[in-house]
Amino acid sequence: MSNATTVITNLTNTSSLIPDNVGIVTNATNIVKNLTNISALSSGITETPHLIDVIFNPFWIIQSLFILIFAYIVVWLLDLALKILSEQLGTKRHILAMVIPVMKIFLYIGAIYLIITPLLHLGLTEFAVFSGIMGAGLGLGLKDLFADIVAGFIIIIEKPYQIGDKIQVGNDYGEVVDIGLVQTIIITPGDSRVSIPNYAAISNSVSSANAGSAEMMVITDLYISYDSDISEAIRLLSEAVITSRYVYVSDTRPYTILVENLPLFRKITAKAYVNDLRHEFIFKTDITKRAWEAYQIAGIKAPDISAGGYCLSSSPLI
């Protein structure tokens, strides 16, 4: 009977606080306290800590900060150690590198769990209120951050790319060096460090050139005139490919030479895998340089670009 009276009193207090313009924080505090009392009374629990008491408890704040800093240092150290170890594996480095983002997520989840554990001791109603406040916060200001974190989980689970892959997101192309909770970091061929929000990475189309392998296909185009010996040009280009010190050929990683007749010249394309994606550009340069040296000796000519455009000087168009 007395419990019911207290509930009514509390409800009355709650309603009486609403039109009062003392201050929105004070009101919110009182509302939470009253709701806590209601939930405690209705469930028969003698005493649970107040939400505000927990959140504004200096010990909880210091503890949370300490946990976050500790988690950050552990993540940083493990990240560094795993990256060094993965580099020791040469072309198998992706195997270890894919553990890094998973490790990060687990450690940060653990840290968050430790931080919110005191809140979990609150009553159900209080927790609902806390969740509501958090939801409002996310809805208003932290929406993008939350979207990036969720996207980070999706990237780790779905693996559209991994650390070590060469990816293209929008206009940015480079090697993925880190997948964080919020952003993915790539290093471009020009050695620039680009941070891509995780949400942008999953909401846009992402092309991964190697998809978790060390090798990746490199496409090299050469242009020759129509009066050049095409068979010899194909042979020389294939030999330039297979004798490159950066090439990787296997049953599942074959090389291909394609020829395309264009109006004013022929395009010969070599598609071959580089042994390590970090040699992508040097591989392409190596093929182009040596193929052209061989072409010059064999009398295979580039299209003549005299007369202000691509045209042939010595042979009719076929």
Binding site: L89, G90, T91, K92, A214, E215, L236, E239, A240, I242, T243, R245, Y248, V249, S250, D251, Y255, N275, D276, D286, R290, A291, A294
Partner: protein, 343 residues
Amino acid sequence: MEDDHPLSCPPPTNDLWSNEIDILMKAIDEGLSGKSRHIAIISEYLAGKEDLATKIECGYSGRTARIRLESFVDDISVLSNLPEKDIYIIENCHFLAQRKINGFHIFRQFIDLVSQNNQIWVTTWNIHSWRYLSAVQGIGSSFPVQIIIPQKNYEKLREFILSQHTSSVFYVIDTPVPRRLIMVRKNLIYEIPFSHDTYSMMIYSIRFRLIWAILRGKSHEIEPDELIFQRLAQISNGNPGIALHIWEKSLDAWEIRMSAMSPPSLNGVMDPDTVYVLSLLLSLETVSIQDLDSVIPEGIYLTMILSHLEAKKIIHIKNNRVSIEPIAFAGITNELKKIRMVW
């Protein structure tokens, strides 16, 4: 090229290659009875392909012609004008192809020659060259019988090495035992039920006694001979020829010390140019400097790299020919495989 060499047949008791010899002899007998049986014997440097070639020469005396290639071949007539015999043994066939543009014409002529010929062609290849040529030229289809000489475990190596040395040897563990020795690589062979095939699997087992001894600082008390041979197996990658070379070089009168079996450091030699030179040396085994120079791309300073490698005791140069020091062999092979410079 070398075709006049004294024939010394290995003793029949040496059964290090018994499985391979059985396959080889069976294939040759089938070939002699009319089936097309061209054979490729494939192994690492010094791993035993020469022994198998000698075994054939001894087993089919008078019916074989044997040629050992020592440098790149620039004229196929060396191989097309062989005396009329039933079996041709061509050693070091990796010298038929050069890894450069226009470097495969002799190799293709050789494949044509082998395909059009009724004799049995027994060829030996370096394993890295073979894998490369299989990938880029599809060489495997020309040689239906391929015998890849496997790595040997330390028990086999021990048996093989001790069979060469009849005198007593003292084993001395005079340096801290390398931590890597706590893991021992073993080759388990299973016979697949209802078939005559076997399946071999490499496993690692942990030596808890050694871990305990290391922790107590008493690792030298753990069977020194066992540790020495395990170390030998490790730094030779299970290659008997390499292991024997290291053994002979480390043996001081009647004593062998762990400290004498330290491979040279590879620090400072893993730059792209040096690595490529090393990959060619692994693939060509022993090669003249001129031949090596002919396949080196422009921009690589071969003389400088060779002198640097020689100073670090990673290669040795003798009579203008270069080869990798046996003690550095396993380390280089493992590093180069890791970065896919050899396949």
